[in-house]
Symmetry: C2
Subunit: 729 residues, 2 copies
């Protein structure tokens, strides 16, 4: 399945895929679609391409972001469909050891039974996108140093955002083409989201990790939410009195579905691609970042699986983290295979060499661009000097929710003390305060000191092994670690430090923790909570890194747009920017593909595959009522949700659309803009398309919405939702 992790990458550069008419590459900005009319026509599209540029019209107005996943409105009463794997957090939030919605699924028979997805759950409806490049990058004094440059840009972005949000919307100024362009995006932010229906895990995650990113696939990866707003129709936090949101646009379901060769569109919020990174950046990822991540995640998975055996509560609490780790692990393995064995790194090297040759071949170009690549290289070399330390430093926080909370409370108190909101660090401005609080409420359901401790213990072990010139000094001091220490001694020191840490904290207590976020700095420090003390001890290093990072961002904003310019000049043509979690449109065809030598992947899977894969245990455990429904179907029971050419109910299908993590849950539309499926995954073989799109082999995986309709009517008794969607009268 596609990763829902947002990668924290600032780099976006562009390498064209040549003539755009031959490939299905491109996560297009909606406003680019009208320019693609010739290609769309060639692919058999008879509609109006300009419709895609109208963000509040049909179909764009129906497509929303959940923050990390995509989704769409499918009824006038605010019904939303997204992936099952995008609902894991919500299901987990509402699960107990006695009633595990993750396992059993959930169906609200009435509106009253719909359950809150918890604080922090959001639905974002994009209202407008505005080019603000000049406002952000215009008239910058070339004499500014990198840090000043960063601060100026940062300030401009904050000011624009604030002005935009004055209208009551949520706004973001996003960088495209590595800072070559900036757009201001305004979104309606719905804050009361509820779960309506999710199938059992034996449907929603059938095949589990074994089938994740794989084809043939038989996953029923859908779930249904509903957006609620205040009685005044405006976004409001969860309240019993809230009413269903009336979306301006909804998608119509097309129960007749699609067939091989059909044109399909996917509209959604792809997270991050790296197609425009420099060779050196891809090389670092290939040779260091991914191998490290793979080892690291394997270890963490083993740790969580082990501790999950202790009791059912821990298992539920660890579930969503485990699913995320496993998903990313598989993803990184696939990426690495594509980069190394698939030869993408080598192709990147060649492309960059070609660019350098092209720049050097013309004196004017050499003058304009000649310094860019060496400077980007130097910038990267600087980062690499402390990469081990920086990675472990970051992992301390990602491992321990308690530590992150303590740090967050401390940093918030510092920023709150500032008089002017514009002076506050981004993520700690007034606009962020309520979501910081919601985040702290939300984590309570997955928070467990035992989980926290085993992962922090692992991170401390890594810190203990850092080379002498890359130590985390305050941690060494606190935990009594020294470079080159014997492993067993380090383990002892760590365990005894952890005993003290977890004995000396109340951060796991909800009320205690939330109260901390309302306190001034002095009172926070006066608690002497052990995690506050650790966060405080680590703060000087954190601040130093933040400063260095701002300097680097300033340098990057000076260099990368010129690099992008060079690339654009060299390649020409209409080009999609790298994904950046903004609304995009991609289109392609439903088609199979030659997989490994001797194997062809057919474009559709069917119920037959569920019967074949079902073992009755583990990841291949279809619910008994589904098997019974299949049996009834085999016995002659009619269904309108057949794929006539295939002669069975279709389950999942392949298409050549260009997607990545964040696209999960995106509606798949036919040529008329009707919903026919949900995008939910890519194929392991072409995961590395995030770095370089493979024109022949790249495929995305969709759940065929006929399968959802069949399960809802024949298995899960969700006929009332079919009615609501207008599928049944």
């Amino acid at each position: 399945m596609q990763s829902i992790t947002r990668l924290l990458t600032i780099a976006v550069l562009f390498i064209s895929a040549g003539s755009f008419l031959v490939a299905d590459e491109g996560m297009w900005m909606p406003q680019q679609i009208p320019d693609l009319a010739p290609k769309l026509k060639a692919m058999g599209f008879t509609g109006n391409p300009a419709a895609f540029a109208d963000l509040t019209g049909h179909p764009m107005g129906a497509v929303v972001s959940l923050g990390g996943c995509s989704a769409s409105f499918i009824s006038p009463e605010g019904l939303i469909v997204t992936n099952h794997h995008c609902a894991v957090g919500a299901l987990q939030y509402n699960s107990t050891p006695q009633k595990n919605l993750l396992v059993d699924g959930f169906l609200a028979k009435t509106r009253d039974e719909e359950i809150s997805n918890g604080p922090g759950a959001r639905v974002y409806v994009t209202q407008s996108v505005k080019d603000v490049t000049e406002a952000i990058t215009g008239q910058i004094d070339p004499k500014l140093d990198d840090r000043q440059r960063h601060d100026l840009t940062d300030r401009r972005i904050k000011e624009r955002t604030a002005a935009c949000e004055a209208g009551g919307l949520r706004c973001r100024v996003a960088s495209f083409f590595g800072g070559h362009k900036y757009y201001e995006i305004a979104q309606l932010e719905i804050q009361d989201v509820r779960t309506v229906y999710a199938p059992a895990v034996g449907i929603g995650n059938f095949g589990g990790e074994t089938d994740n990113w794989r084809w043939p696939r038989h996953t029923g990866d859908w779930s249904f939410f509903r957006a609620y707003v205040g009685k005044d129709g405006k976004p409001a936090p969860y309240s019993k009195d809230n009413v269903p949101f009336k979306p301006r646009q909804i998608l119509k379901i097309q129960p007749a579905g699609v067939k091989s060769g059909d044109l399909v569109f996917v509209v959604g919020y792809p997270g991050r691609t790296q197609r425009h990174q420099t060779y050196e950046e891809v090389k670092l990822t290939t040779e260091w970042t991914f191998p490290r991540t793979i080892k690291n995640y394997q270890d963490q998975i083993a740790i969580l699986e082990e501790i999950g055996k202790q009791d059912k509560e821990l298992q539920i609490k660890a579930a969503s983290r485990l699913r995320g780790l496993n998903n990313t692990l598989t993803n990184r393995r696939g990426m690495l295979e594509g980069l190394v064995k698939g030869g993408i790194l080598a192709q990147k090297q060649k492309a960059q060499k070609d660019l350098e040759t092209w720049i050097a071949a013309d004196p004017a170009r050499a003058k304009q661009f000649g310094d860019v690549l060496p400077a980007l290289r130097a910038l990267q070399a600087e980062i690499e000097k402390t990469r081990e330390r920086d990675a472990v430093f970051a992992q301390l926080f990602s491992s321990s929710t308690l530590l992150t909370s303590a740090q967050s409370a401390y940093l918030l108190s510092i920023e709150k003390a500032k008089a002017n909101d514009m002076d506050r660090e981004s993520s700690y401005q007034q606009r962020d305060w309520s979501r910081i609080r919601e985040g702290q409420e939300r984590i309570q359901r997955t928070l467990d000191a035992r989980l926290d401790r085993v992962l922090l213990r692992y991170a401390l072990g890594l810190a203990a092994e850092l080379p002498a010139d890359q130590r985390i000094a305050p941690l060494d001091k606190a935990a009594g670690l020294t470079p080159g220490m014997a492993k067993s001694d380090a383990a002892k020191a760590i365990d005894s430090y952890l005993d003290k840490l977890y004995a000396g904290t109340k951060m796991a207590d909800r009320d205690y923790r939330l109260a901390l976020f309302d306190k001034p700095t002095s009172e926070i420090l006066a608690t002497k909570d052990s995690f506050v003390e650790l966060a405080y001890a680590l703060d000087p290093m954190y601040q130093a890194e933040r400063v260095a990072d701002k300097k680097r961002q300033g340098a990057d904003s000076r260099l990368r747009p010129r690099y992008m310019q060079a690339l654009l000049q060299k390649e020409g043509g209409l080009v999609a920017p790298d994904a950046n979690s903004t609304l995009r449109v991609t289109f392609g065809q439903i088609k199979g593909v030659d997989s490994k030598d001797g194997l062809y992947w057919k474009p559709f899977t069917t119920l037959a595959g569920i019967e074949q894969k079902h073992t009755g245990e583990g990841e291949f455990d279809a619910p008994a009522r589904e098997l019974a429904a299949i049996k009834a179907f085999r016995g002659g029971k009619k269904t309108p949700f057949l794929h006539p050419e295939v002669g069975d109910v279709p389950v999942d299908f392949l298409s050549s659309v260009d997607t990545t993590g964040g696209n999960s849950g995106s509606p798949t539309l036919n040529g008329k803009g009707e919903l026919v499926g949900l995008l939910f995954d890519g194929t392991f073989d072409t995961i590395a398309s995030d770095f370089l799109y493979d024109k022949v082999r790249t495929r995305s995986i969709h759940v065929d919405f006929r399968y959802a309709l069949w399960v809802m009517s024949e298995v899960d008794g969700a006929g009332h939702l079919l009615k609501e969607m207008g599928v049944l009268d």
Copy 2:
């Protein structure tokens, strides 16, 4: 890969596949081929079908049996091609820890370098096949009891065999259609067989157990032998002075190969199929025999893998047994899947019910056949009463080569003492004496008391756990075992018994053992060798089983031909008998197949798959020189051995021909009778075709001979063999 084990099944019944014109089912007797002319013509065959009935003509005269595998002559100088997995025994026989031909492969650059496959290696060239049904089954007094009936038939077979062999050939009277027909087959028996060429294991067994029975496949499953005879042209044991055999017929290689849709023939010696067994027999296999075998083989594999770690010599000695166990294990799993999940058992049940209804529907038929099925059922019920004990009893001998040798020497001495060769038990007649001796010589290379002991220990453990009413009493007495004994006590008793057994034997010594086979019974017993004593102690039970078995065979020969007659009458049409290790012809088309839901298996694999699968270790470790040759080919080096439509060198291909274990090494011929490949495997999905041919999904796997030619010329430097085959001038 296909099993080379001969199953000891006497039952063969017939269920027609309906109109034979639609299916590729049928391991046809050569004399049936002319009757299939319409079907062949419909499939595009333009040759003369009658040619297949001429066993000494082309192409039939070129196809030989190696006893368990098939092969063919491909040069006037007696060059033979078969599978690599059929050469494992010979390669093992010639391997040492220092020079492991199994791993490194072997190539004789000259005739002098060709190495003997060891005593017992054989090439059988079928000379004639004669219907002797009347001579074997005619004029049998209906008043004879079952034992008498067996003895009469047995005597007739022995007499005919002796008369036939008087001409200097090796003869066999084989039963077809469960004793409904008998044919006398005369074969030239070549006794000096040498290894000429075998690729490295990274080609010959590329993919190993992981890929065994699987598609897509990339195994280079070929090896080359040469048949030698005395200077007089007659078969003779190995001698330096022997000369290459001049075959009457040879197969021409067609280096242009085949393509999808082409008609292909496979000629060879399929071992055993069970398509005509009764429902109850298949049920027993499904519910008891196969599950037991699977558990049993898993255990033995674990034991052998463990002991193989001790040293390299043990590993080599265990290799071929391990490969056989693994192969059968996979086979049985696939069979079981087909029988249960694939629904074959259910189809068998239905077919038998239909037959019974058909019999009962007509009074004359009811009179003629009404008693047959109940009687066969009663016969089987008798066998099932002691199935646990009988299985363990047999396993004592299959586990311990030393015990089998001791038993064999003892039984031989008893039979030798008889004055008339016709009175001797089959397998102990004069005609068998030299091969018994050769067998004892041959086993020396794999014999090791440590291996022998761990497997016998396992079998003794099973004996200890037998229920009280199915004990092996003499073993209980010898080893001090009692029913219901605590497991740990039994283990102790067994280990102490094994200590005594292996301390008290010299059977592992070649000369000592061979000498035993020349001694009279009294002298053998006087050795007091511990294994002789054990064999002697077990003999009364062995004899009792032999008598019961003869009685059962007599009953079977009375009943089964009538059952077969009923089936033939019900179904009608031209029908191939179940396989019985006699020469057969099967034909079909090269074609891919829909595999699991969403997957299509293309008919050809290519070098690209070797590059994809190569990991550099374990079962996926292509030789460096092969990878270099692929690289050179990718770099533009020309080869005549391309598949033009596929654009690569083909490796393996699929066809719809109907084959089974024993067919391994069979030549695959194009419509002109030219060699284009070697049959070497079936697909896991349709292994159970041995019980019921699947008209849609059954496929056989062949190595494309172009791959062999490419490896020989580009990788292994075997150009002289290409020249000898007439491929290169």
